[in-house]
Symmetry: C2
Subunit: 487 residues, 2 copies
Amino acid sequence: MDDMGWGDLGVLGQPSKETPNLDAMAAEGMLLPNFYTANPLCSPSRAALLTGRLPVRNGFYTTNAHARNAYTPQVIVGGISKDEILLPEMLKKKGYVSKIVGKWHLGHRPQYHPLKHGFDEWFGAPNCHVGPYNDTNEPNIPVYNNSEMIGRYYEEFKIDRRTGESNLTQIFLQEGLDFILRQNAAQRPFFLYWAPDATHTPVYASESFRGKSQRGRYGDAVMELDHSVGQILSLLKSLDIDNDTFVFFTSDNGAALVSGIAGGSNGPFLCGKETTFEGGMREPAIAWWPEHIKAGSVNFQLSNVMDLFTTSLALAGIDAPDDRILDGLDLTPVLLNNSDSLKNRAIYYYRGNEMMAVRLGQYKAHYWTWSNSWEQFKTGINFCPGQEVPGVTTHEQMNHTLQPLVFHLGRDPGEKYPVSVLSREYLDIMKELMPIVQKHQQTLIPAVPQLNMCDQSVMNWAPEGCEKLGKCLQPPKPNPWKCVWPH
Amino acid sequence: MDDMGWGDLGVLGQPSKETPNLDAMAAEGMLLPNFYTANPLCSPSRAALLTGRLPVRNGFYTTNAHARNAYTPQVIVGGISKDEILLPEMLKKKGYVSKIVGKWHLGHRPQYHPLKHGFDEWFGAPNCHVGPYNDTNEPNIPVYNNSEMIGRYYEEFKIDRRTGESNLTQIFLQEGLDFILRQNAAQRPFFLYWAPDATHTPVYASESFRGKSQRGRYGDAVMELDHSVGQILSLLKSLDIDNDTFVFFTSDNGAALVSGIAGGSNGPFLCGKETTFEGGMREPAIAWWPEHIKAGSVNFQLSNVMDLFTTSLALAGIDAPDDRILDGLDLTPVLLNNSDSLKNRAIYYYRGNEMMAVRLGQYKAHYWTWSNSWEQFKTGINFCPGQEVPGVTTHEQMNHTLQPLVFHLGRDPGEKYPVSVLSREYLDIMKELMPIVQKHQQTLIPAVPQLNMCDQSVMNWAPEGCEKLGKCLQPPKPNPWKCVWPH
């Protein structure tokens, strides 16, 4: 999901309980309350999911400024490196057919497209569905069917900004269901990466879901996505392949509290998208595989999106790449046996080129704290609306590396009460954590940053297929600049 | 429950998922996400539960100062008026035997005791388990078995403040189970008011639950209470009277955020105990009655503790008193038929003698806002730690009666984004709400306030039964004063 928060699921405490299908999925599967993304922003999170590697290792970050979130708007020059190995490339070794439906976000220039990186099929868009644009300063985002565009958002693929209506989720659902049906008919193993974006602003829902929730447009979008997940699981059951299909539900980052009532909920957690507080990076997560994963189980294993790379390979019986460091772990002992053999794993909270925080067990140590700058904050951009924890939700980048700010997330999931630096507890956890962090940082070799350069000439002016549609636009002359990432 | 918050149940989003029995109770029964207490503090809330009437009608409030929460500490002179009719008195008409186990809190002087107000049995204490006291300025709180004390907290009934250990919840559980067994054996209809207080500071748990949760002592207490609820429901099942027994789970007010990590969670809601924001008054609520209440249902009916009075009478086939105004509604259409016939009912949020806010449908209008005074706030007393919504969580009593501050709780459960007073939406809701509020206020006849006077001589110096135990203390001379209620 896109910008959906931990607190948006009924089973995770959303008061308006809009997710009967996801709640049922949790009741039939395993809920993972301590599941994380790799970055509090979309593109790096998705690159981490597909590579099993931290953005700082796979190139999805910027060095233009310290600790800045970067992503892939239309002006971005970079994208996923050809040196990275993506999950569908690996799955091919055992004959898996792979499709991405929805938002790609790993680069929109031709060399970065999904079909160049292991996917066999693609239906969706390379960038967010923001718009409409005027074709002069900026073209509308193209929608692809495989390697050719078949239209653009706000043109052939309508999104009504005034009413919040769009049938895109329905289209994405049909694409997903159709893919499953075809692979099942052909008896081929398959990987469906179903990545709809209805809960990212501008939030949308189709006619039959509009006005149905208590939460307004955001809740309507959640209800349609929940319904869609239910349809997918139902199809697997009716095809009698549910016991052969591993399904994982999660989101790319915390709810965008900056969008106010147009955004979702992070439940009891602090702040949201763009931040390395819990609200920015803890994700709703459900693993489902009838007869393999115990129904109604809850596992507190610390885990993250990069584990999905490694775990999927393990389930497919494919050896993980051994020529690079992978940040993902194989969760099969957790999922299949409720084992706690992975209990000493750490979770790293990165923002751009900086490790902001680390979690080990119940303890989270902030090495840096930052919400956003005073300058941005004063313009009304607030990543923690209604929340303020002095010394924690700081508007300056605070360097705590000499004495990290430590929270016990069991007692204090909202990160309000730092563990006293004078306590035995603090000394004990830092003694355990310091060598782990030191090793992590010393052995980390950052990739060439992909998100440093911007250029208007690289926008989606004339995507492949535009000629057939008569929808090619004239790009301006190349004029690259160092992208400005304010957060 | 005592000071347990909406967000403390697994099914309502507690990340550490400590309540498998309550979650199962919800799966077997009905979850009511829009259930409220009548006051954000213990005594008035409990008086409202047992009388079906707002505290301002049943006398559980103060007029010493404007909009102040008051309760029944040991120095309180007042208690539940003999003019009030309590639920067990009504249930007697159909032969019900009633027992309260745990905290009473409706007055500790002899004339206010449970056995004087309809209960047939009592095991527990009249006040909170705070202490230990020194017997000179203040006696320890007595524990009663029916009309006689059998010991005191910190003396015969141990609570270890250092370790947080006490076996009180186990004792309360056994008392409850024993009562059910006896009434079942005698084939008598019964009402058990099981009111343990382990989640009120000082929080405690018994040896077998200490250290078991991820949340520290508070979570340990929750786990023991959850376990106890499971035991009670199991007993009903094993006696084969589950289909004949209506069980309702709720709490007396929001989690005491003022206690920091010693308190619970209000999930996504604003502030906590003592306030009329959602975190102060929205309560976890589960209705359970196998074969009568639909398993796994969720009903969004606005309802409150006073409805339990009226609903219980309806279920018992007893006419409600017709000589007084009742604030509770009969929820049987909601519980038994999932009806929405009560959809136009309003919820009133009182703090002492003031109606602070009203909810109708999804809209909540604040007529007054107040967290606590600057004076108190500066001493470190914070009812909204880590939260601050400008103009909402005010430290002055802000009078909005001419233009209430309106929130849409569906879109904005955290009360962060007031509906614009210039909008059509604002005008529409106020047009609907104003006559309702006007009627409520015009027809309201406040009772004589019971919580105005304090006196050290009325403390639990020499409760009935103390002679037998040799535990009578000498009270000081009467010296009444007007109680000071700072919040």
